[in-house]
Each structure stands twice: as C-alpha cells, then as structure tokens.
C-alpha cells in the first residue's frame, strides 16, 4: 500500500503541472466514448430504416412514398460519430504523447540533478548497476505505463461506463443479458491472474538461479577448462535447466491463457446475446425492423463489452512495474542532499595548516571506523597514511573534502572547521587523484581540462607535461583530440592514471590528496606514476594514501593507521627504529639481499 502511496506522490509531483492537458484528454475521451457507444445505435437504425424501406417498396401501394431520406440522414450521423471519435482520439493521443515524453524527460533530468546533489554515502551503499537501472528499466517502465496504460485506462473506464449507460437506455433486458456472463469472467480472470502471479514468481526465481549458474560457470570458464570440468558443468546446468523447463511451462501457460480465455468469453457472450436477442425478436412485440436493429446493436455491444476488461487485465503487469519503478525512483528523490552551509565562507588556499582533530567516524551507526584520529599537516608538507586494508586510510580521504562528515571532532583549515566553508569552494581547493582513474567520454584535452572547461590549450599541454604523459599523447594519431570512451580500451591503466594526474595538476589545488594506484600496474609503471606524482606534490600541501611504501619514503611524516587508530607516527627512519608495525610492513614489502 505504501508502494502505491509513494508511486502516487511521485506521479503527482511530476504530472500535476499537466493538469490542463489531462483535463482536455478526459473531455475528449468522454466525447470519443460517447461517439463509439452511440454509433452502433445508428447502424441499427439504418438497418431498421432499410427494412422499412424494403417493406414499403415491396408493397406497390406504398412504393411511391418510399424514400431514402431518413436512411441517408442516419448514415451521415453515423459517419459524423466516427469522425468525432477519430478526431478526439487523435487530439487526446497527441496531448498524452506530449505529456508522456516531456514528463518522463523531466523525471530523467530530475533524477540526474538529484544525483548530483546527493551524498556520496548513497553511491557507496548502492551498486552502480542498481542505480543505473533506475535510469533504464525503471524510467522505461514508467514511460511505458504512461504511454500505453494511461490512455487505455481512461478509454476502458469511459467505454465501460458509456456502454452500460447506452445499453440500459436501449433495452434493459438485453443489457442484463449482455452483462450476465461478467461475474463468471471476473472470477475466471481473478483466478487465472492469481495462478499466473505465483507461477511467474516461481519461474523468475528458477530463471534467476539458472542465469546465476550460467554466469558463474561461463565467467569461470578458464577454471573449468584447466581442470577439465566441462562434464560436471553440463551436469549442474542440466539440473537448473530442467527445473526451469517445468516451472516456466506453468508460468508461460498461466500468463498466456488469460487473453484467449477472455476472447473466448467474448465469443460466448456474443453468442448468448444473439440467441436471446433473436428469441426476444421473435417472441416480443417488436416490429421486424426494430428487432433486427436490436440484435445488431447488442451484438456490437457484446463484442465491445469485454474489451475494457481485457485491456485492463493485460495492463495489470505493466501498471505493477510502473508502481515499482516509481517507488524506486522516488526513493532516490527522498535521499538527503549534501549539506552546504547557508552563508559558507570563501576559501583561497592554505596559509598555515590543515588539522584533523580527534575525529571519530562511522559509516553505519554503531560501527565506528575512526576512533579519535588527530593529524596535523603544515603548509607545504607531505604526510603519508599507511596501514592494512580496512584500517581507515581511505576514510580519512573521504572526510577531507567532505564526501562524508565527521561524527565528532573536526577537520580545520587555518583553524576554521571545513564545514563552515562553502562546499564547492572547499572542493575547488582540494584536489584528489583517485586509485581508479575515472575518465569521461570526450577528447583527451576535454578530460585534462575537466576541472576547468575554459582552460586554454597551453595550460592543458603544460599539465600533461608535468604528468609525464605529453609525449605519449603526441604519439597518438589525433594527439590531444583522441577520443576517450569506455568501449575503446586503447589506454592502459597506467596511462589513464597519468591523465587523471594531469587533470588534477591543471586545477592547481591548494591541498592535494593522492590515493595511490595499486596492483593494477606493475612496479615499473608505478615508478613512472610516482615521478608524475612527485611533480604534482612539489611545493604543495599533500596527503598520500600509500599502498606501497617505496613511494613515501621521503614523506615529512608517516602516519600508521590500524583499526581506526593511529599506532605510529614519524618519518621513515624514526619508524624503522621503533621497529614496530611499520618496520614489519616495510620488511614484508621490500626485497632484501
């Protein structure tokens, strides 16, 4: 139920400004429905008039007064009704197509805008695939529902109501006959849909397991081949595949049978109406013409009668998906934004120092990661953070440019809490080189000037030179205009890292944070990257998160973190003399003669 409420709130938010369009649509659809349900009566009347004409004509006495006048008028009205139907459907479809396209467009951009404002916490807690699915399948489901279901629902409901009104106006007995089979049809539909629900769930579970198995096995194919496990793998597969065979069969049958059943019910209903209608015609007090007309009109209604029920049941799945989709997108919309102080202070470089003061931090309440960490970094100094995986090194980086905020304690720049600075000013002063050098689609030049899109070419080249990547770029056929995209992997991890370093150099940040590249590159490439990093750090205040100690031997200060606490602090020599954790780490990593 809350799903429905959330979805309702979501659609209301995005659709309310189209109220006029919806109003027009509803009016037009009412008109079209009126035309459609009234039209058959004119077909009936035309037949009735023809019958009369024929009767008058057959009798020589009445033949002279016979005329087509009434018949032709009826046909003109009949024609006008269909024109009215077609034009009102056309205009309302046009309006709805516009609303659907533009409202989904607004939703898409809205989702993206929201994403840009959201806290990093959300992205860390959700997989990329899961968030991306909100752009693809969820928005798609919403679009499909708006595009098809919306007009169908309007139409079906209007048609059903209109049909009931007209039928009862025409002939109460026949209207009741036409409706007689409805309870049976509804019971069948409800039963089949319930069956289909469970059968399809079971089918999806089994298919999910099968797909999981296939994925695991085929991705591990090297392992299967090197161990000669192909037969085993097929055996396992067959088990899952056979399970899918039986469960998907019932899923397919139950979900596929509703439509033919309803079509069959429609046939049966028409037969019943014909049967009763003709019985009524022959045993009632109606004239032949009127009786014929009655049968014709109600046959028409009987054929139309099941259409709304059929479209609504076939839309059921689509609507279900759209509700889920709206819930999932709405969930993002309700995430907290990043906190940017209302009158944030400006920040122009570092004058004295950056201090981390007794910082406690936890990603999840109750599971503290940093237990009172204090580090002081003077202007122009390089401080290295080392420690085993999970010690909290990366967490410190996350706090420095406020991807996350501290639980208690504070981080200050020249004595001012970083939470008091304008968020964007703070980040403009803090440059980060990440472990995984994410580049963006565009040219190399675009990527290097990413932080300052207006930067002139000579600044781009200068940054590339400092990052030791200029020569490589010049060796490419299109040089700085070479396109970077995720499809073409023409750059190695090391080259991408160098480009990301150039990108950071160009923005000339006051405080630099380097999260070192690790095992993706070999030690020789690493030495190259190291040289580029040394260039960047020249004369800058910097924090280095080190994975290989080789790179930080020259640091002014090395801070050893373990389990969220600083256990050792000092320069390389001091720490080696201490002969503690750092010394052991160092001996483990290095080769000794």
């Amino acid at each position: 139920m809350t799903d429905l409420q959330n979805a309702g709130r979501y659609y209301w938010h995005y659709l309310k400004k189209y109220w006029f369009g919806f109003l027009v649509t509803i009016v037009l659809i009412s008109i079209s429905t009126a035309c459609i349900v009234i039209a058959p009566t004119y077909l009936g009347r035309a037949i009735e008039e023809l019958t009369q004409y024929l009767q008058l004509w057959t009798n020589p006495a009445t033949r002279p007064q016979d005329s087509f006048g009434a018949f032709h008028t009826t046909l003109w009205i009949y024609l006008a009704l269909y024109l009215g139907d077609a034009s009102s459907i056309f205009i309302s479809s046009l309006v709805l197509a516009r609303i659907t396209a533009y409202s989904t467009g607004t939703m898409r951009v809205g989702l993206f805008r929201k994403m840009q404002r959201m806290q990093v916490r959300y992205f860390d807690a959700h997989s990329d695939g899961d968030i991306l699915a909100r752009y693809t399948s969820d928005l798609d489901n919403i679009f499909n529902a708006l595009n098809q279901a919306l007009i169908e629902i309007f139409l079906s409901v209007a048609q059903f109501i209109g049909l009931l009104i007209v039928m009862f106006a025409q002939n109460v007995t026949m209207a009741l006959v036409t409706m007689a089979s409805t309870p049976v049809a509804l019971v069948i539909a409800a039963y089949v849909m319930k069956k289909a629900g469970t059968a399809v769930n079971r089918q999806q579970d089994d298919i999910g397991q099968l797909n999981g198995y296939i994925n695991e096995q085929i991705t591990g194919q090297k392992m299967i081949i090197t161990n000669g496990l192909q037969q085993d793998s097929v055996k396992g597969f067959t088990r899952y595949n056979d399970r899918v065979r039986s469960s998907a069969l019932s899923g397919q049958i139950w979900s596929g049978i509703l439509n033919p059943l309803m079509q069959g019910m429609s046939l049966l209903n028409t037969a019943i109406v014909i049967f009763f209608g003709s019985w009524l015609a022959l045993n009632g007090s109606l004239s032949t013409g009127a009786a014929l007309a009655l049968v014709v009109v109600f046959v028409n209604y009987a054929q139309q009668y099941y259409q709304p029920i059929m479209s609504l049941t076939s839309l059921y799945g689509m609507i279900q998906l759209a509700i889920t989709g709206a819930r999932r997108v709405d969930e993002v919309r309700n995430q907290p934004d990043e906190v940017n102080p209302a009158d944030g202070l400006p920040l122009n470089g570092i004058q004295h120092d950056v201090q981390i003061k007794d910082v406690h931090f936890s990603y999840n309440p109750g599971k503290e990661i940093l237990h009172g960490v204090s580090i002081t970094l003077h202007k122009g100094e390089m401080v290295a953070l080392v420690g085993p995986t999970g010690s909290g090194k990366t967490t410190v980086m996350n706090l420095l440019n406020r991807f996350y905020d501290v639980d208690s304690g504070a981080i200050t720049i020249d004595g001012t809490d970083i939470r008091r600075f304008d968020l964007h000013a703070l980040r403009a002063n803090v440059g980060i080189v990440l472990q995984d050098p994410q580049l963006f689609t565009g040219t190399i030049a675009d990527n290097i000037r990413y932080g300052d899109p207006t930067a002139a070419m000579d600044r781009v080249i200068d940054a590339a030179q400092q990052a030791n990547i200029h020569d490589f770029i010049m060796s490419l056929p299109q040089q700085y205009e070479t396109t970077v995209s995720d499809e073409q992997n023409i750059f190695s991890a090391g080259q991408k890292q160098l480009m990301s370093i150039a990108r950071t150099i160009l923005t000339n940040p006051a405080l630099l944070i380097l999260d070192e590249a690790t095992s993706n590159v070999d030690t020789v490439t690493e030495a190259n990257i190291q040289a580029a990093m040394d260039n960047v750090m020249q004369g800058r205040t910097s924090f280095v998160i080190a994975h290989r100690l080789k790179t930080i031997l020259n640091a002014d200060k090395i801070v050893v973190l373990k389990d969220g606490t600083i256990i050792e602090q000092g320069n390389h020599h001091e720490l080696l003399e201490e002969n503690g954790f750092y010394a052991e780490l160092y001996h483990n990593q290095m080769v000794f003669e």
Partner: protein, 574 residues
C-alpha cells in the same frame, strides 16, 4: 530459422495440436458472423426453428473457441518451452566444448547474454508464433474470403480500405524506423553519461563539475525526449486513421447496400457480418505490424545463437589413452604466439626448459606475456609456431584428461564456485577424503581459518566467494590447486593478497609436501620468486634473461630495473 526448425520438429505433436487449435479458433471467430447472418435472415422470415438451431450452434461454436484457446495456449507453451530449454542446453553443451580462445572470441559476458536474454527472446517468439503469427494470416485470409462471399459486389471497398491502411503503414513505419534508431542512439548517450557520473561521482564532486554534468545530461536527455514525442505523435495519428478508414468503409458499404437493397434484399441481414469481417481484417493488419517488429528482434537473437552453435571448437585433442604417462618436465622450443585479432605477437621465439620438481619464476612488466606463457603450458592456446612439451611430449599430442590431470592452474583472480569448500575440492579430486583435504589446506595455509568456520570443510561458498576475504580466497584456490597432488602447479599471481609471512609458509610447504611437483610462479613481487631454481625475465614477449635471482641481479638490466623499484633502499634517504 535454420537454427530453430529442428528444435520445433522435436515437438511436432505439440506444434500440430497448437496449430490445429488455432485453425479451430479462427474458424469459431469467423463463422460466428456467418451464423449471425443466418439468424438475422431467419428473423426476417420469422423462422423460429432455424433461430433455435443456429442459436445452439452459436453457443457450441463459442465453446469450441474457448476450448481451442486453452488447447492452443497449453501446446504453444509446451513447444516454446521445449524449444527454449533444448536450445539453451545445446548452447551450453556447445560452449563447454569450446577452447578458451573461442570463449574469448565471444567474451564470457556475451555468451551469458546469448544463453539468457537471447534464448528468452526466442521462447517469446515461438510462443507468439503459435498463438498469434499463424492466426493473423488465417484470420486475414478467412475474413477476406468470407467478406467477399458475403457481398461480392463490394470487393473494391475492401481493396480500397486495405490500400489506404497499407500505404499509411508503410509511410509511418518507415519514419518510425528512423526515429527508433535515433532513440536507441539517444538512450545509449543518456546511459553513458549517467554511468560515467555514477562511477566517477567522486571526480565530479571534487572538481565541482555538477552544473556542467547536468547541462551535458539535459542536452542528451532533451534529444531523447524530442524523438520520443515524435514517435508518440506518429502513433497518435496512426491508430485513429486505421479505425477511421475501417469505419468509413463500413459506412460506405451500408450506403451501397441501401442503394441496391431492392435488387439484393438478403444483404440486409449480411451488413453486420460484413462489417465484422472488415474489423477482423483491420485487426489482422495491425497485429501483423506489431508481430513484425517483435519478430525482427527475435531474428537478431536467433542469429546470435546460431553464431555460437556454428562455431567449430578451435582446438581438438587426441583420444584418451591411459598408457601415456608424463612427468613434470616442461620445455618451450622457439614458441611464438599471437592472440587472435592482434597484430603483434605476445610471445616471440620463447625457449626454455625446466625439470620435474623444480620451481620456475616468471617476472616482467604488465603486458610482457607472463600469463600467456603459462596459458600455453596448460594448452589454453596453441602456439603459432614452435612446440610446448610436457614430459618430453608435445602438448598437442596429449589426451585432454592426461593434460588436465597433470597440470593444476591457480588463476590470478579466480574464485571458488558457489557450493561448499568440500564440493569445490571434490570437483578436482572426486574421491578426496577429509585427511586429504586437510593436507591440501595445510599446504595452502588455509587450514587455520577453515577449522575456525562452524561447518569447517562443509562451509558454504557464495557466488564469487564473496563470503571470504581476498587472502582467504587465494588460499582456498591454492588448496584446490594442490588437492590432486599435480605434477605441475601454476601459480599465476596467486599469492598477491597474502602477506609475506603466509606466502613464505606456502612456498615452504610446497617445497616440503609436493617435492615432485614442478611449480611455476608468476609474480609482481620479486620476493615471491627469490627461491626459484630458475627465473625467466620477460619483456615485450621475449625472454631477456634467465637464471637465479643472484645471477640476474648482477647481469640483467630489465631485472635490475624491476628490482630497483622494490629493493629496500636503506642508504640515500633524506
């Protein structure tokens, strides 16, 4: 279609029943107006007996329609599921005969898509095929013929209606095709930007580029929105035009009936059935159009499945032969190897040999060919030229089973399969006993944490072994590697997540417990291969140095460069 037909033939009986049911269903649908005409005629003549008879017929016909609908669904589903599961099974078996190069050629994720999504597409189209596709032409032809039989004079009304519908469809489907292609492109652009921003959210935020990214995304999204709206407008025209055309035809034919009513009084009763047939023709054309777009997707899927089925495995093995026994000697003789699709060879003129029970270390920069060399030993690829020998025999002359039993390959980023630890070990050594498992785990330094698990060797392993840490994963895969006491053990960067102490313990245990096993260690860390009997230094696919650590440190430039970056530098510090 060539891919699909043999599978449908396996379910011939079901397929025929489904088709028969379709015929019955179409008959019921089309015959009803016919009976209605007779009834109307009877009302005109005040003929009660006929009305009764035909009334009963009508109900019987409707019941036939319902029954036919059910039978059709059930048997269509049987064919669809049968075809899909069989096709998937054959596809899977086929892939299991692939050489590694074949898997690489398609890429693993691509093969998975073919076995899941593509098969699903095929299943849907087969289902729809037996439910709808056969029905549409039948309905169309049936309705057309019956309409002509009902009022032969009005043939031109029918033709005119169809001509208008076909012309309008052709015109709009052509435009729509263009727009749909445009949509695909726009969707891709939008998704690319979204994905990049997701993966690089920290970059975007730290460079304060949110406004620019929003601008970029809005531009791409607006283009998509505009095309979507255009498609919507086209559809908004299309449907009313179709129905209006059919309704105009109806009005016209009623008018014509009126004009000639004195010549053909019987047509009075035929109007309703004639209009019903007109509507059936219209529905058949519309559904046919939808089916066509639907089918085109399935045909692409079928093509992709066919491509896998028609691939001949690029590697064959000599028949199994228990007489062939090999030891752990390995020799490369002038081996050159190029990856399919590459221009430059990855390995060039590589020659070396190593004796049973020795340890071989391989070092070199990323991309120097270390892993490729190991892959050739395990015959995941065959060399372009030169020979790889195990126990003095060309690996191409060894039966698959012999080869696999001889070599255990522990991969760089391999994981156990989901199941249990014991299950994974038994895959390699089906009759492994608990003491054997314990022995292997001890060698791999895995025993200490396995023993602490509540279910020890029966502990569950999740997908991608995600319930174990990096170091534990590596120790588990080494356990799996040694359980069968192989003659050759390849450790491809298999200890990178282990600390120096554990790594040393593993190596000592290998020395002690697997004395006869030839061990090949590929590593980034020189420390991992210090103890090797022989170290190969690879650079751009060539062996540029070979010898022990002490020899190489003295006389090999490439080795020295690598060593320099890892050597402890006590002297010369600031």
């Amino acid at each position: 279609m060539k891919t699909l037909l043999p599978y449908i033939r396996r379910y011939q009986k079901d397929a025929w029943l489904a088709t028969l049911a379709v015929v019955a269903l179409v008959f019921a649908t089309l015959w009803q107006p016919r009976l209605l005409q007779t009834v109307m005629d009877a009302i005109l003549r005040n003929d009660k007996t006929t009305v009764w008879q035909e009334g009963i017929m009508l109900i019987a016909l409707a019941l036939l329609g319902i029954a036919a609908g059910i039978v059709n669904t059930v048997y269509s589903a049987r064919v669809a599921l049968g075809v899909a599961t069989d096709l998937r099974a054959d596809l899977y078996r086929k892939v299991q005969t692939f050489a590694y190069a074949d898997v690489e050629k398609f890429s693993a994720s691509n093969l998975v898509v073919r076995m899941t999504n593509d098969i699903n597409q095929v299943q849907q189209i087969v289902m729809a095929g037996f439910q709808q596709v056969s029905r549409i032409p039948l309905l169309f032809a049936g309705a057309f013929i019956l309409a002509m039989m009902t009022m032969p004079e009005q043939w031109w009304v029918l033709l005119m209606m169809m001509a208008i519908i076909v012309i309008v469809s052709l015109f709009s489907f052509q435009r729509m095709g263009k727009y749909f292609a445009q949509t695909q492109q726009d969707i891709e652009n939008v998704n690319t930007i979204a994905r990049e921003n997701l993966m690089g959210i920290r970059v975007v935020k730290s460079f304060v580029q949110e406004p620019n990214e929003i601008k970029k995304f809005s531009r791409a999204s607006d283009r998509l929105t505009d095309v979507t709206a255009k498609i919507g407008y086209l559809f908004a025209i299309l449907m009313p035009v179709f129905f209006l055309t059919a309704n105009l035809a109806i009005v016209l034919s009623v008018y014509l009936v009126g004009q000639s009513i004195t010549a053909h009084p019987a047509y009075l009763a035929a109007i309703v059935s004639f209009t019903s047939y007109l509507m059936q023709i219209l529905f058949a054309v519309i559904n046919g159009g939808f089916m066509m777009t639907f089918a085109s997707r399935a045909i692409i899927s079928l093509g992709r499945i066919g491509a896998v089925m028609n691939t001949t495995p690029s590697m064959t093995y000599v028949p199994a032969n228990d007489d062939i026994q090999v030891n752990g000697d390995i020799a490369f003789e002038h081996v050159t190897f190029t990856y399919p699709g590459d221009e430059k060879p990855t390995l060039q003129d590589v020659s070396f040999s190593i004796h049973s029970g020795d340890m071989l270390g391989i070092v070199g920069a990323t991309g120097s060919g270390k892993t490729t060399l190991a892959l050739l030993i395990a015959r995941l690829f065959d060399p372009d030229s030169g020979v790889v020998k195990i126990g003095g025999i060309d690996v191409r002359q060894l039966p698959e089973k012999t080869l696999r039993d001889t070599i255990a390959y522990v991969l760089q980023r391999s994981a156990l399969f989901s199941g249990t630890i014991a299950g994974n070990l038994k895959q390699v050594q089906p009759d492994a006993t608990l003491p054997q498992m314990k022995w292997a785990a001890n060698v791999a330094q895995a025993a200490e944490f396995i023993d602490r698990l509540p279910q020890t060797y029966n502990a569950p392993v999740e997908e991608r072994s995600s319930n174990f840490s990096g170091g534990q994963k590596q120790r588990l895969t080494i356990t799996r590697g040694v359980i069968a006491d192989p003659k050759i053990l390849i450790l491809d960067d298999a200890t990178s997540a282990l600390d120096a102490r554990s790594e040393k313990l593993v190596q000592e245990a290998l020395d002690r417990e697997l004395k006869k096993t030839t061990t090949i260690v590929i590593a980034e860390k020189i420390a991992s291969i210090l103890r090797a009997d022989k170290i190969l230094v690879l650079d751009h696919g060539r062996i540029v140095g070979s010898g022990t650590h002490h020899e190489l440190v003295r006389n090999n430039a490439v080795y020295q460069e690598i060593y320099q970056t890892q050597k402890a530098r006590e002297e010369g510090l600031a």
